[in-house]
């Protein structure tokens, strides 16, 4: 008897969880659809209000940087680390090229590169690394807690991947560049996989808002 009741309870629970899964999936699909529509029209993304927020980090010259310095200015923000062989230097170079392409309009845009590997990316190291790119790119690092906090508010995923011998590690991380409007809302994202012209257009759209 008891077993049957437990079995029935388990079935009910399973059905309930399945229903929740379907609902979450449906909500996700809906948001994605809305996000695509919003990207095309240039209005703020749904859920955009929940991405971003205040932060405090350290610049490559050792001074503190507060997100309040971004108030009223559109900005591009992306996350990476210097022990990164491919996507980070590529994105830094692309952003340098976009700034150059913008000409005088580049003054209106702030570009922020945030390290997700603060243990190895000291301000000095980051400064040296970034010297190969446009000097308008603001390099930021901080304590592990500060980086974790900005990662959380921008919904950025990152994790350490230890090497086989455990002596070294690399990192998995969100690679998109977030384009934020002057109100601090997410407007669009850039991917290194899309054509240069498309990225440039998205940046120009951001500045036109």
């Amino acid at each position: 008897m008891a077993n049957t009741r437990q079995g029935a309870l388990r079935s009910v629970r399973l059905v309930a969880w399945a229903a929740i899964a379907v609902l979450v999936l449906a909500a996700g699909m809906h948001l994605l659809g809305e996000a695509q529509k919003a990207q095309q029209s240039g209005r703020a993304l749904p859920g955009a209000a929940t991405i971003g927020g205040p932060f405090e980090l350290t610049r490559t010259d050792g001074t503190r940087f507060s997100s309040s310095a971004l108030a009223g200015k559109p900005y591009a923000i992306f996350f990476g680390f210097t022990h990164c062989p491919d996507i980070c230097p590529t994105t830094l170079l692309e952003m340098s090229n976009h700034l150059k392409e913008l000409g005088d309009r580049a003054d209106k845009l702030r570009v922020l590169f945030v390290s997700v590997d603060p243990e190895r990316d000291t301000p000095e190291h980051l400064k040296r690394y970034l010297s190969a790119f446009d000097d308008r790119i603001i390099g930021l690092t901080g304590t592990t807690q500060e980086v974790a906090a900005i990662g959380k508010s921008y919904r950025v995923f990152f994790e350490k991947v230890p090497s086989k011998d455990g002596q070294d590690y690399t990192m998995n991380h969100t690679a998109s560049v977030y384009l934020m409007d002057k109100a601090g809302s997410l407007v669009s994202t850039l991917s290194f996989q899309e054509p240069d012209e498309q990225r440039q257009k998205k940046i120009e759209n951001l500045l036109d808002r």
């Binding site: 210097t82 022990h83 990164c84 062989p85 491919d86 996507i87 230097p89 590529t90 830094l92 170079l93 692309e94 190895r120 190291h125 040296r128 690394y129 970034l130 010297s131 190969a132 790119f133 995923f157 991947v161 090497s163 086989k164 070294d168 690399t170 990192m171 998995n172 991380h173 969100t174 690679a175 998109s176 994202t189 991917s191 290194f192 996989q193």
Partner: protein, 162 residues
């Protein structure tokens, strides 16, 4: 006037080739049934500790082989890695057990995908200074290879090497 007959010229050419510091032609190397071609890397930002190496491997044989390891004087150690994109997240992992090259297949190591990972960089690749290295395959054995150096952030080799 010194006249060289054909044999002397060939012998001199062979001597010269043997004395050249580069281990092999940069564009194509044959090792066993494998052809390794178009090896390149790129300039890294100052202070970089890692760099990616790219190349194509064609297996002309009847059996699968695996790229299992490599070495280079510019790196403390070399691994074979794969980069993938998963919902906007860049993921990096070492290819466990080596990278398989099926019979008849050409595997491309390129940005955003498989690459040779130069780790613990002693000196970053510099433009105009090809990088020496070796690659070791499970069956075909070890071959010397030269990586041409493309500019910072290049998505393909500096000059068409095909």
């Amino acid at each position: 006037m010194i006249r060289l007959d054909l044999h002397t010229t060939l012998a001199l050419a062979a001597l010269l080739a043997a004395a050249l510091p580069l281990p092999a032609s940069a564009s194509e190397v044959r090792v066993g049934d494998l052809i390794v071609a178009n090896a390149w890397t790129r300039v890294t930002p100052p202070g970089a500790r890692v760099a990616g190496g790219f190349l194509t491997i064609t297996n002309t044989g009847k059996a699968a082989d695996r790229l299992v390891s490599g070495t280079s004087p510019i790196a403390g150690h070399v691994e074979i890695h794969e980069m993938t994109m998963d919902g906007g997240v860049m993921k990096m992992r070492e290819v466990a057990g080596g990278l398989e090259i099926a019979p008849g297949a050409t595997v491309e190591l390129k940005p955003g995908s498989y690459h040779v990972m130069f780790m613990d960089l002693k000196s970053g690749p510099m433009e105009g200074k090809p990088v020496a290295g070796t690659l070791t395959f499970e069956k075909a054995g070890t071959t010397a290879i030269t990586f041409e150096v493309a500019p910072l952030g290049a998505k393909s080799p500096a000059h068409g090497m095909n």
